[in-house]
């Protein structure tokens, strides 16, 4: 299984029936493809819609319906339109059940850096700071390393997105839960050993007595 597919499938297991969910641009977007059977979740795009779907067929695009990445999307029955202020009121007021964000770095305090590389990439934070600060549950989905360098670090060297501790991190190697005491290794990816994870991780990981293996339903 491709790394990003594994990550998306594992993150999807975190969603529950009825959840309002916002998926960041890039890797997080894939999560929508692997929803567990029998649950209904509502996807928000922060530019103003709840109930986003794929465009059901070529030529059916609506000029006035895009996602936050600027891609044409569709909407399901029961969708609703929101102005930007109301959309962010949901995000900032704790009404968004889950946001899945990409990451550049995640540190031992559970703080995320995902929006800028000084002197190199200054795109602006868009809605990222609001999502990372306001969502009920923040899940980071990202590759464990970039060009051989661990993205799970002792302390973020890149500008952080929020001081808020994220709730879960899913990489192609591991599921990690940031806690008050530090980063706890919760699950290993199929075929990956704890030692391999430790070797690939700059941050200190707390290894509990039982570390499970990522479980992905076979039919997904």
């Amino acid at each position: 299984m491709e790394d990003k597919v594994l990550i998306a499938k594992r993150v999807a297991q975190e969603l529950h029936d009825g959840d309002l969910v916002n998926l960041g641009i890039g890797l997080p977007t894939l999560v929508a493809n692997y929803l567990p059977h029998g649950i209904e979740v509502y996807f928000q795009s922060e530019n103003g819609v709840i109930g986003m779907s794929k465009v059901p067929g070529k030529g059916l695009e609506d000029d006035y319906l895009i996602d936050a990445g600027g891609i044409f999307v569709g909407a399901l029955p029961g969708a609703c339109s929101l102005d930007s202020c109301t959309s962010f009121s949901l995000i900032r007021g704790g009404h968004l059940d889950v946001t899945v964000l990409g990451g550049l770095q995640l540190d031992e305090q559970g703080q995320l850096a995902n929006w800028m590389i000084p002197g190199k990439m200054v795109p602006g934070m868009g809605g990222g700071m609001d999502l990372a600060t306001g969502a009920k549950r923040v899940i980071v989905s990202m590759n464990h390393s970039a060009k051989g360098v661990s993205k799970i670090v002792k302390k973020c060297t890149l500008p952080i997105t929020s001081t808020r501790r994220v709730d879960l991190v899913v990489t192609e190697l591991a599921v990690i839960e940031p806690t008050e005491k530090g980063l706890v290794l919760k699950e290993t990816a199929p075929g990956v050993t704890i030692d391999q994870i430790l070797a690939a991780t700059e941050a200190k990981l707390i290894i509990p007595e039982h570390v499970g293996e990522m479980s992905i339903p076979a039919d997904l």
């Binding site: 795009s45 922060e46 530019n47 103003g48 819609v49 609506d62 000029d63 006035y64 319906l65 895009i66 936050a68 600027g70 909407a75 339109s81 929101l82 102005d83 930007s84 202020c85 962010f88 995000i91 900032r92 800028m116 990439m121 200054v122 795109p123 602006g124 934070m125 868009g126 809605g127 990222g128 700071m129 609001d130 600060t133 306001g134 500008p159 952080i160 997105t161 929020s162 001081t163």
Partner: protein, 221 residues
């Protein structure tokens, strides 16, 4: 008195150096005819407050291409390399603001609040130079209100009086900005008789709208 105005005359009202709130998210819900006319008239030294600058050549990206803008307040410029180039070259002053805080700052400006007490951005570079206040043990940034000389909006329909509605994600910043522009100009896709937009479906009340851009020929008529 009719609020209808030709796009040329509407843009003639905007002086060089004006501050402009402009609706839109990646060019959806952006007043395209107004933008093209601003470029055609060669406006200069504008302050533009808008979510993003889209891509070069499209939507408000055209204002950046044409160097109409000296100062930009936005949440995201990652889709427009020309905006980034001008920023790095010192030709364009850019203030980046979290999108939700940008919404609230514009809202605060439009409804007379003194500022916004927001947790977003606390402890990040977005807090640089800003005051922090602690309420019930939690820190909040004090973000300043935003108002502008003009709010330039796009909408689905305007009725004769200026009541507006919007389509799906083209609503975005437009309804908030309608409160915060000293002069508010809306570019509708359609102009409809009074009553076509029922009272409960009006999103922007007519009292906020000063001008409606006149129809463009359609249906060959």
């Amino acid at each position: 008195m009719s609020k209808a105005i030709d796009v040329v005359r509407a843009v003639e009202m905007v002086p060089d150096g004006a501050s402009i709130l402009m609706g839109g998210f990646l060019a959806v819900g952006t007043p395209r005819r107004i933008i093209e006319e601003i470029v055609r008239q060669g406006k200069k030294h504008l302050t533009l407050i808008t979510n993003d600058t889209n891509r070069p050549g499209i939507g408000n990206g055209m204002l950046i291409d044409a160097k109409c803008v000296d100062r930009l307040i936005a949440s995201h410029i990652g889709t427009n390399p020309e905006t980034q180039r001008q920023m790095i070259a010192g030709e364009l002053q850019v203030e980046l603001c979290p999108q939700g805080s940008l919404c609230e700052r514009i809202r605060a400006g439009g409804i007379g609040l003194g500022g916004v007490l927001t947790p977003t951005g606390v402890g990040t570079v977005a807090a640089e130079g800003k005051n922090v206040t602690t309420i019930n043990g939690k820190d909040y940034l004090i973000e300043m209100p935003i108002k502008a000389d003009f709010a330039l909006l796009a909408c689905r329909r305007a009725d004769y009086r200026g009541n507006l509605d919007y389509s799906l994600t083209a609503r975005n910043f437009n309804p908030i900005m309608a409160f915060a522009g000293a002069t508010v100009i809306a570019e509708p896709n359609e102009i409809v008789p009074i009553g076509v937009i029922p009272p409960d479906d009006v999103i922007t009340p007519h009292v906020l709208v000063d001008y409606i851009i006149e129809r463009r020929s359609a249906n060959g008529r």
